[in-house]
């Protein structure tokens, strides 16, 4: 409202004053635009330099040496890059399944049940979120050293499930809080057993929260460097490969795979959001509107 009156008054002023008024009025949005641009700059750089011919030796220069599709055509030609990516994907998939399952159960207990030890459980879930990754990694390594456990895929799996659980709990929990329990009661009234109710009512309604949590867990696992660096032994994940390569020279394929990963993740998120919006629309349609007269 206020903005409209200001602009009509500004109409009679000279151009510089009008421009100044416009700037002042939109300063916040301009700032927001610049900030968002800042957040996206590195992503552009990664994508653009995946088409650059010159830096095959991984020189980190800003010089543009010429356009090529070579690295996109041979995206998987660099064996070391591809192998580390496969390891990362396997690890992320396994860790996601396990952490999402046990995290969801924990969230159900926290939201739906009163029990002794609630405060301690909350603390147990919050603390890993509040601990720097390096301390988590160092502590796990300390334990593995004391037990002389050999490090590798298994120790990475243990670590990745561990740091994902808390995030899963937080996401699923927020979905459960807004959950309308009368639907479940209705199912029970209609003679459904608790297990059937859980399978046919609770789980489908919780699905968006669980999918969101799983996506987060997957992304965290795929991205983790610090904790993995402490507990990997000789197993090389994608981030670990990149770190090693950054000291010698990064193959351009890394930029290509990173760009692919970005596009895939972005598409997945868009798809999930779209699906959720559709589900919401369907849920908001009342039976009468579908042309089914209520039967008594």
């Amino acid at each position: 409202m206020e903005a409209a009156t200001v602009s009509s008054r500004a109409g009679s002023k000279p151009a510089p004053a009008r421009a100044w008024a416009w700037l002042r009025r939109n300063a916040l949005l301009i700032f927001a635009g610049l900030a968002v641009l800042y957040m996206l700059v590195p992503i552009f750089v990664i994508a653009v330099f995946s088409f650059d011919t010159g830096n095959a030796q991984g020189e980190l220069d800003f010089a543009w040496d010429g356009f090529t599709l070579e690295y996109w055509q041979n995206a998987f030609a660099n064996k070391a890059v591809t192998e580390s990516m496969v390891t990362s994907l396997e690890l992320a998939a396994l860790a996601t399944v396990v952490s999402t399952a046990i995290g969801t159960l924990m969230a159900m207990a926290l939201v739906r049940h009163e029990f002794f030890g609630r405060r301690a459980t909350n603390l147990l879930i919050i603390l890993p979120l509040a601990t720097p990754e390096i301390v988590i990694g160092a502590a796990l390594l300390s334990m593995f050293i004391s037990y002389k456990v050999s490090l590798g895929f298994t120790s990475l799996f243990i670590a990745h499930v561990m740091f994902s659980i808390s995030f899963v709990v937080v996401v699923v929990r927020s979905r459960l809080i807004g959950f309308d329990r009368s639907i479940e009661e209705a199912a029970a009234d209609l003679g459904s057993t608790p297990l059937t109710t859980f399978r046919t009512v609770t789980l489908p309604l919780l699905a968006p929260g669980i999918v969101g949590a799983a996506l987060l867990a997957f992304a965290l696992s795929l991205d983790d460097f610090v904790i993995s660096n402490f507990n990997s032994g000789t197993t090389v994940t994608f981030p670990l490969f990149i770190f090693g390569a950054s000291l010698r020279g990064i193959p351009v394929q890394v930029n290509v795979l990173a760009t692919m990963l970005f596009v895939l993740t972005a598409l997945t998120i868009v798809l999930v959001l779209w699906q959720q919006r559709k589900a919401k629309e369907m849920a908001s349609v009342r039976p009468e509107q579908e042309g089914q007269p209520a039967q008594v």
Binding site: A130, V135, A138, A139, S142, M143, M162, L261
Partner: protein, 289 residues
Amino acid sequence: MTTRRRLIPYWLLAPGAIWLALFFVVPMYFMGELALRSGTFTEGFESAFQISNFSDALSGHTNQVVRSFVYAGTATLIALLIAYPLAYAIALRAGRWRLLLLFAVIAPFFTTYLIRTIAWKTILADDSPVVSVLQALQLVPEDGRVLATGGAVIAGLTYNFLPFMILPIYASLERMDTGLIEAGKDLYASSTQTFLRVTLPITAPGIVAGVLLTFIPAVGDYVNAEILGGTGTAMIGNVIQSLYLEQRNYPEAAALSFLMMLAILIVVLIYLRVAGSGAFMGDEDERRA
């Protein structure tokens, strides 16, 4: 039946709680125990209850400890100054652009943390246009560099943890009843007064959560200092990493990690006392827990 019902939450909690206990709590004990040992990697470490490891770890790395807090503190402050206006614009001014802007805020998460940081190394490289502009503006001396300085490390930390600052602040702004701003204006408060007396206090929990979520990972980070920094920019994380993985001086490394954990634990416990455990989980309502 009732006893069985009462046991249900424990069955639900068991797998996760056991996993966290075994692989988060127990390792902390082992780290503490390792910190008290003496000896060397080649001769083996013995339990010796050597408390001096803690004071040695701290006094040997005073520079890095101080630097970590200065870098992380500066990065957190800059992140807050960028994040608050941005979150405000997205939550209250963006209209139909809201979802797109939110998407852009989390977009960095879709690429690997390390690659993003390495991209900044490219952007801040000596021959890059960004550095030329900074030199032209006299912000950097004509023959000066950006890469390998503390400034580059702070810039990297700010960038990498910015979303953790934006999201909680956005959440608290989005939940805010905008009627309160109207009410402030109706009562003849200026925009500044309304902001300082209404908006800012209401969104304080979001700010506190954002500050913790940015500062904690930043203070323990070593990737930015490793990739963007140079000599004289090492942080605690770099020291811990090098002591554990390169020098294999486990007792001192464990002692330093343990002290770091302790410092953060104290901060978090004070915070939970003040703000309630719900605040960390994304809602301020559940203070009973």
